[in-house]
Symmetry: C2
């Protein structure tokens, strides 16, 4: 019985026949319909370059009632399926966007975009650039001046050009060049980032014109030496066959003998509904954000209408041309979905794994299956809660089980491991692990610079920031919420507080859309509240608080393009009034953007937000002063944002987790090796007398 239950519950294919859910990503046929609808607008000889064909989510006024009816088990009306489409006419700078109703077969709008609107990079474009850039005679001549060993293989990493306002109105790419270890030129996985070259061609994409070749500064100033014979340093490989691997690590396996605790249901060709430990939500996937969660509820109570990573920015510290333009917006410039890894069993997750696929479109408008883009599994997260009555010696202890939805993206040199994590105490975390290879540039030997770290001979890793914006669209017991913050403030000395030890919590209501900062010296904590939903015991509003790690706000000055473009990067929190399709904290089109179209501007509308439909952007990140330990591949730097209930429940919601018991956990003494007790179909005992509950008196 368990078997059938599980195998069905984790086989979304079984559910494909269901009607497509309004939040399900576009299906293959829907993508093809959009492609054809656009092409029909042009004569067949006009070739198009598609940048995006993605779900246009229904307006909240339509979708919210649908989801509520669905949650109540009521019948739901159909909602038109629509797509957001962006494309170029190939070999031109003519960039268009539009919204097409697949259901009605009509365009809601379709426009050519104006200046400073540039499409994101795409896979075909990048692969094509890498090859063709090296074919320019001028580039070959520049490389020749480096007098590299016979047979040296050059690798090109195209970079989004960035913005500095200097002749950058056209869509350009800045190409950074590297070489493979010349002693090992045929090794396709050689770490070329250990051998950066001082030559950097700039390409205009519409006609693939070589605009110029930048020479990179490699000293302590911004002088660019004429190209000369290049000193080839030794390699620094990261692949396992080049390491003396440890041999003393013993296997650690995670077994779920009765299967997993979650159920999965398909909601379309792509997209799945998950239920686990009182949680229910839907998982979508798109080119820009990758994983998106919709309609997150606990025990049927609404919590979050939509959760996703909105954008990230990685501004670099080196002020010298052309490095001063290095500022990635990896979601807006390329896309977390486009860059999602194909996750492999036993490699990226440990235990009993369920994989979800994504479905995107290529530059020809054809559907592209992204296999295993998300892995879902349970994790033991240590002790959830414990209390020992020292008078009787009875310990009550429950372990914390977590459900992890993980997606990993590769942004050329760098990796981000992105995960939503649910637990049994009503908490949702968003975790980012930053890993991968540092973006490197050449540096002369024997020098140091204060804006970077030498991580290998001849290799500089410039300082940079990683600043993320998590978009939280709440529905705490409904869509009418407010943002407040608590502070802990000392009481004045008085007859009431004669010893000067007293303090109190003060709540401040955020009245208008704005950016806000954390004040650690006041213990400031932001909460999303529903004052119409009062706790039956203490009368306080149902709320979720936001716990985010501290981060240094964007260092680049207010007048800089880095700062203007990264509209979210200057405050811990942005709160705005909800508007349909405002999703991206740095604006819709970040490639060579100028700023002015993101959350900072939405906040400047100064809309009244008390007890209304609000959206909260939570910023966090990393000031990355590289260590040599971060090369050639850095140990993951882990950051976690937590959303936790505050007076939302009536007691610890994890109190009903079965006690942690040996019959269930089947641990062993290390001294006895791992002879597990034979599976006795161990299930949760409900008499509550676990093995922990018999320990002796104090």
């Amino acid at each position: 019985m368990a078997t059938t239950e599980i195998s069905s519950s984790v086989a979304p294919k079984l559910a494909k026949s269901l009607a497509t859910h309004p939040v399900a990503p576009l299906s293959s046929s829907e993508i093809e319909a959009c492609r054809d609808a656009i092409q029909k607008l042009y004569p067949p000889e006009v070739k198009l370059l598609f940048k995006q064909i993605t779900l246009r989510e229904p307006p909240k006024a339509e979708l919210a009632p649908f989801l509520d009816a669905e949650a109540r088990g009521e019948s739901t009306h159909l909602i038109d399926r629509k797509a957001f489409i962006a494309y170029y006419i190939r070999n031109t700078n003519k960039f268009h966007e539009g919204v097409y109703s697949i259901t009605q077969r009509v365009f809601e709008y379709h426009v050519r975009l104006g200046e400073h609107k540039h499409g994101n990079g795409d896979a075909e474009e990048i692969v094509d650039l890498e090859k063709r850039v090296l074919e320019f005679p001028e580039v070959k001549d520049a490389i020749a001046k480096l007098k590299l060993p016979e047979g040296t293989v050059i690798i090109c990493d195209p970079w989004i050009y960035g913005s500095d306002g200097v002749n950058d109105a056209e869509r350009l790419w800045q190409c950074f060049l590297y070489m493979r270890d010349p002693k090992n030129s045929s090794f396709a996985d050689s770490n070329h980032y250990a051998l950066p070259l001082p030559v950097s061609p700039v390409i205009r994409t519409e006609d693939f014109k070589l605009i110029r070749i930048d020479i990179l500064p490699t000293g302590t100033d911004n002088f660019c030496k004429p190209l000369e014979a290049f000193h080839v340093h030794p390699p620094n490989e990261y692949t396992s066959e080049y390491q003396q691997l440890r041999t003393d690590l013993k296997p650690l396996n995670i077994i779920q003998p009765d299967g997993v605790s979650f159920q999965i249901r398909g909601i379309g060709e792509i997209g799945e509904a998950v239920s686990w430990q009182k949680w229910t939500f839907k998982v979508g996937f798109n080119a820009r954000e990758g994983m998106v969660l919709y309609d997150v509820r606990y025990n049927g109570r609404p919590l979050f209408y939509r959760l996703s990573l909105s954008d990230m920015t990685i501004p670099y510290a080196d002020p010298r041309h052309p490095f001063h333009k290095k500022q990635a917006f990896d979601l807006g410039d390329v896309g977390a979905g486009v860059m999602a890894n194909n996750l492999r069993l036993g490699c990226d997750c440990l235990g009993s794994i369920h994989y979800m696929n994504g479905l995107l479109s290529d530059s020809f408008g054809n559907p592209v299956l992204m296999e295993n883009a998300i892995c879902v599994h349970e994790v033991d997260a240590g002790i959830s809660w414990k209390h020992t009555n020292y008078r009787t010696g009875r310990a009550a202890v429950a372990r914390s089980r977590e459900l992890v939805l993980q997606s990993i993206i590769t942004v050329a040199n760098y990796e981000y491991i992105l995960a939503f994590i649910f637990n049994q105490a009503g908490e949702v975390d968003y975790e980012v692990r930053a890993t991968g290879v540092l973006s490197t540039q050449p540096i002369d030997e024997g020098i140091e610079v204060p804006w970077g770290t030498v991580v290998h001979p001849g290799v500089l890793a410039a300082h940079h920031q990683h600043i993320f914006s998590l978009r939280v669209d709440p529905m705490i017991d409904g869509h009418t919420n407010r943002l407040v913050y608590d502070e802990a403030l000392p009481m004045p000395l008085s007859d009431f507080n004669p010893h000067g030890v007293g303090y109190y919590a003060q709540e401040t209501i955020v009245s208008q859309s704005c950016g806000l900062d954390t004040d650690y010296d006041k213990g400031r904590v932001f909460k999303i509240q529903n004052v119409a939903s009062r706790n039956p015991i203490n009368g306080k509003p149902a709320a979720y608080k936001i716990q985010a790690p501290p981060f240094q706000k964007i260092v680049a000055g207010k007048e800089s393009f880095h700062n203007k473009r990264a509209e979210f990067a200057d405050h811990n929190i942005y709160v705005v009034k909800y508007h349909d399709w405002e999703l991206y904290a740095a604006g819709q089109w970040t490639n060579q953007s100028r700023g002015g179209e993101g959350v900072r501007n939405w906040a400047d509308r100064k809309e009244e937000i008390v007890d209304s439909d609000i959206v909260v952007y939570v910023q966090f990140g990393l000031q990355h002063i590289p260590r040599i330990e971060d090369f050639p591949v850095m140990p993951a730097e882990v950051m976690k944002v937590s959303l936790k209930p505050v007076n939302f429940f009536e007691k610890n919601p994890a109190l009903d987790v079965p006690p942690s018991e040996q019959a269930f956990n089947r641990s062993t003494l290390a001294a006895e090796m791992h002879r597990q007790p034979a599976t006795n179909g161990a299930t949760v005992t409900t008499n509550g007398l676990g093995c922990c509950e018999t320990s002796s008196k104090l």
Copy 2:
């Protein structure tokens, strides 16, 4: 072979015959020798009350060379075994301390301590108090006024009295009273914290005199109503038999088929040496600090001479008598070792577990075995590092294995889960999970107060802070270290930085002992450096940085006893010059302390600390504004301090971790249940071609 290796490696008993190591805790016979030596100073009829008989660690001038010789595999000279002893003459206030050389059979010193020096609480004392307090006729009369139901069982929680300078020179206890659910009086594990009473007797311990009975304020002001009939609210139990337990959680087991990856060696009757994944260290255990780590090295390179939790303080926000004195120093007032839980297999750790015992002394000076006070096990901590070459599709990925040493302490109502965590990237974490039952007090119905939260009808949980001090005694490549901090600062606009995007890292040297704060807006990061040990590649000093979560510093005002006593609680970091036996950030005797003997005062010596033997105290904690979700037992609040290498190694030290491979990890598809591939003696493959390394091209 593996079997024997493991079973011996995790059976410290086998090694008991070894000579006792200088950092090994006192043995039973050593404790008895100390007890007898003290008793011999008095006629037999003089009864003594022992508070501490614990290892007096050798001065660093003796121990450091011993450890270095040991690390080099050289023969080591013996070091005298000594004990620190504290005791009262029973039924008096005559409190003594001394240091006794067990080897030489002589006292190094032995003194009676002066006023405001009070011994810590001990188990016998607390159990005795709980019983006898309720036998005072005056206490019975006071309780009678509450007109509680027939057969009501009263529970007494004795609290360390605290300090307010008002008639508190004698050693006192403040007893808070609670009742069991009267409908269930015989249930010994009833959660009495859900039924707090307004009566609080004060006891003088030397002669067990009832000093007074405090009536507790229960309103919005500090008025104490005369005792009247008490309204008995419904109970709020936490034990499993009173919950409707979840039935949909499937087992998750952690199996190490080839055993664990760590080796253990006994270093005395108690105390063990651990080696795991290039790490080596010794584990001690004492009444005050519980777990202590000594001589922590990576690949033989010295890192930390000693690591321990130095103290914690929990000041409460309620300014009203007698709550204004509520400020626990759980290590100094009682002791993390004394309160350590007996950890049970399959309950407090999951997987293949090794347990370590502790050995303490009771109030009669007899040895007391603390069974299973520490559990040691390996954990899979997700992905350590990953890079995918998108050109070839080859992914290089390594999982992070961690070694966890966990101890759990019960402080009457509250629990702390304390853990040292080592990983393969040269990082050490110290993790605290705060759980257990909130300290509660009665409150009238239908009111709110700004210094606490109503968590159950009639029950107030006052706001409080948890502030911890982790003591880090470093030896980064030796004992001559310095403390510095890095900041990321914007470059001024100039011809060199015309676009205003540039920034640089600036290092500041801390020249004198002092307290320091983190500045998040400057990305301030503290590092412990050895400038005599330079990185061979980039020439930077070998260093470890300190990553600690933000916390609100102690709110109680500078003039308050809360603030004066909690000498560590006002700064993120304290750095001082090393002096033997300066271990406790709030001083040796915290019970009813006055301050003036802790780290704030040591720092005020303003000693020069650049390139000397320094000690760093890292503060972190929690501003706890209780949520109703924190009752009756709170979901663990997790805090973690990390010590990470900075230019200490020459590359990512985890690069040599074998690639994450299915043959090793043996995961399964959830849809297929958990049919694990049969054990094929799966070991680390070294050809480096893991299952992850074959995924298809972009």
